[in-house]
């Protein structure tokens, strides 16, 4: 058997693949955060909670309404996006003029309320959700067994990240969004409804989190803490990639997933801190992050 650094090569290939799967979630979540921060300058601490609510909505659609996974993939982001829209129009818009920390505290509090409410109702062990029949089963890749569903997660994440990047960077709507954040009053003078544009951006950002939540539902136990456990890492990803940089968030998300995967093999207890070690190193060398521009 071929050995690399004293570990069997198939094991490392397996970890690479698993790292990419975890990276898919980091990329999708950090992309939403980067969009919201880039356009609204809100540090959305409720992002993990939106991810979790996305998973719960998926479960609820099936168990209360009999709506299957494929419809949930569409409906859950819409429902959570609507929740985000309402949240922005009623609460978040009131604090744009305040210090950035108020947004952090507000969204953090909102996340706590969602988490606490669902814990009270469903308990901390949460509920379970099975992958759709079409995607159950295992592929034998030779070096490892890959559950078909996890393969699908990579596929869906890459499509979603690519589409979002194209939307923001290459379309007229994206150009409008970027212009609105640079100079809202100028854009408004062209007849664009900037407040609505911003609210829709927030809704879109949290809808991305909910989409990741739908993908996560069959992978992990659907439980109220699933978002809070992920959000710290995702924030580190955003900081490493450069606050507000969408392409940076995507690349960093996948990259850190892979680094974490290898850490799991060489030094498992370190897997929780490796992302933050990288973050510290990057901030020392490039304070604006790998892909960020200094203000």
């Amino acid at each position: 058997m071929i050995m690399i650094f004293g570990k069997p090569a198939p094991l490392l290939f397996g970890q690479l693949l698993l790292g990419i799967i975890n990276g898919s979630f980091y990329a999708m979540l950090s992309m939403g955060l980067a969009i919201i921060f880039g356009l609204l300058k809100i540090i959305n601490f409720a992002h993990g909670a939106m991810f979790m609510v996305g998973a719960f909505v998926t479960w609820g659609l099936l168990n209360y309404l009999g709506i299957n996974y494929w419809w949930a993939l569409l409906l859950s982001p819409v429902i959570v996006g609507a929740l985000g829209y309402v949240l922005e129009r009623t609460v978040i818009r009131r604090i744009y003029k305040l210090d950035i920390l108020y947004g952090l505290l507000l969204t953090f509090g909102f996340a706590q309320v969602l988490q606490g409410g669902l814990t009270n109702y469903y308990g901390s062990s949460g509920v379970s959700y099975d992958p759709p029949d079409l995607l159950s089963g295992v592929w034998d890749l030779g070096f490892m067994y890959l559950p078909v569903y996890r393969g699908f997660v990579i596929f869906a994440a890459v499509i979603m990240c690519g589409a979002t990047w194209l939307l923001i960077e290459k379309t007229k709507l994206g150009a409008l969004l970027r212009a609105a954040t640079e100079n809202p009053s100028l854009v408004q003078s062209f007849g664009v409804n900037v407040p609505r544009l911003i609210a829709l951006t927030f809704a879109g950002g949290v809808a991305l989190a909910a989409f990741a939540g739908v993908l996560a539902a069959p992978l992990y136990a659907v439980n109220p803490d699933m978002g809070s456990e992920l959000i710290n890492t995702v924030f580190a990803v955003v900081v490493i990639g450069g606050m507000g940089s969408i392409g940076g968030a995507i690349l960093t998300g996948f990259g850190l997933g892979i680094i974490e995967g290898f850490t799991d093999v060489f030094y498992p207890p370190g897997s929780a801190v490796v992302v933050f070690v990288v973050m510290a190193a990057v901030l020392l060398a490039r304070p604006a992050g790998l892909f960020g521009k200094l203000a």
Partner: protein, 411 residues
């Protein structure tokens, strides 16, 4: 940009919340008033195996004892230790200073050990019914602490021993990297090696922030071991087993030894995946008429969550505590060493565990049971999950006190 650590925000908020939401405790007055504090995980990994159901079991114990009729005025308070030893110890210190007579439950060994130190310092009774570490009756034992329900020695010998006896000689461990997981792994390793087996590897993952076990599972699979030993608990075990199923580990013939599984975990995993799993508990609700009677009384207080052994331990512990207080009088109840000494003097008898006793080192001595999880078709009523394979006597379930290094035990 300023970044506020979420952890420090949470920690501060928790301590502040605990300080402000405590009910003012009644002064020990003319009536026979007592206060019992349930210190547990109400929001995290272990909240289904402790938490609200533990509080319900404590209240059930007081009802069944007839505390009201006997003239006792017992206040039950609760606090969340959030799986952090510093928060748990701080809460215990505050409670004891405010007159809490008994502190009970405490899942999480690191928190459990921290509170044992505080109980000794303040001389207050402490019944731990939900931590696993056998150090509570070993080097960390004291005259105020009773360890109810189960410990790592029992789990490693019962479940671990059964797996080795079935021919599982080579092991790979996935371990929660803190006081509980590492001790359970080490004690199980000793059992495996004593039977001529080997340990091929160990992945000690960061607790409590790990939710994805896939890379550890793939490592276990590539090690070629016959048995995957899970030295973890609660939601971690649920996730490990579900993901092991996704990666085809059980289907490929590797056996899972989940060293600590509660019935709440089996419920969360579902019988489809959990079927065939071998595990050890010292209480199962559907074991005999007494356990069923107890369960049917407590269930209305805790719908959707049947009591596990640790929660039943809260019931039995409070039952026995009240009997001891009845003998020595309510004024002596604030003297932890005196109450615990009285509890050790009397044999225990309750609907959850039957007739048992408490050893001089504080170890609650009751048989343990090896169970196998039923197939979906075999389960006829809700939560009807276990078939009993074997009963281990109390003496064989726990380590001999002479070997544990407890200073209370005279050589």
């Amino acid at each position: 940009m300023k970044k506020i650590s979420r952890r420090s925000v949470l920690g501060t908020a928790a301590v502040a919340a605990a300080a402000t939401t405590l009910p003012s405790l009644p002064a020990r007055a003319q009536s026979k008033s007592l206060t019992i504090g349930v210190c547990s995980d109400f929001s995290g990994t272990y909240s289904d195996i402790g938490g609200k159901t533990s509080v319900a079991c404590v209240q059930q114990a007081l009802e069944d004892f007839g505390a009201d009729k006997k003239g006792y005025d017992v206040t039950v308070i609760q606090g969340d230790h959030q799986n952090k030893p510093d928060i748990g110890a701080g809460l215990a210190r505050q409670w004891f200073d405010q007159g809490v007579d008994l502190l009970i439950d405490v899942p999480n060994s690191a928190v459990g050990l921290a509170i044992a130190g505080v109980a000794a310092e303040k001389n207050k009774a402490y019944i731990n019914s939900n931590s696993a570490t056998s150090k509570l009756t070993g080097t960390a034992c004291n005259a105020q602490t009773i360890h109810w329900t189960y410990d790592t020695y029992m789990l490693s010998h019962s479940t671990g021993g059964a797996m080795v006896a079935q021919g599982g000689k080579s092991w790979f461990f996935i371990t929660a990297n803190y006081a509980f997981g590492t001790l359970l792994r080490d004690q199980t390793t000793a059992v495996v090696k004593a039977a001529g087996g080997t340990v091929l590897g160990d992945a000690a993952y960061p607790f409590p922030q790990t939710t994805d076990f896939s890379s550890f599972l793939v490592q276990a699979q590539s090690s070629g071991a016959q048995v995957l030993g899970l030295a973890n608990a609660g939601k971690d075990t649920v996730n490990s087993i579900k993901q092991a199923h996704q990666f085809g580990i059980t289907q490929s013939g590797m056996k899972i030894a989940a060293l600590l599984v509660f019935i709440n975990d089996v419920h969360a995993i579902g019988l489809e995946i959990a079927q065939g799993l071998i595990l050890t508990e010292s209480f199962y609700w559907n074991m005999n008429d007494r356990t069923r009677a107890f369960t049917s009384r407590v269930l209305p207080k805790t719908p959707n969550n049947y009591p596990s052994m640790g929660q039943a331990g809260c019931y039995a512990g409070v039952t026995h505590f009240m009997k001891a207080v009845d003998v020595i009088g309510v004024d002596a109840a604030s003297n932890g060493a005196a109450v615990v000494a009285q509890m050790k003097k009397m044999p225990t008898d309750d609907d959850a565990f039957g007739h048992c006793y408490i050893r001089e080192d504080g170890r609650f001595m009751c048989p343990s049971y090896l169970f196998q999880v039923k197939k979906p078709g075999e389960s006829s009523t809700p939560w009807d999950y276990y078939t009993k394979l074997h009963t281990t006597s109390a003496q064989d379930s726990f380590a001999s006190p002479a070997t544990e290094g407890c200073p209370l035990v005279k050589a």
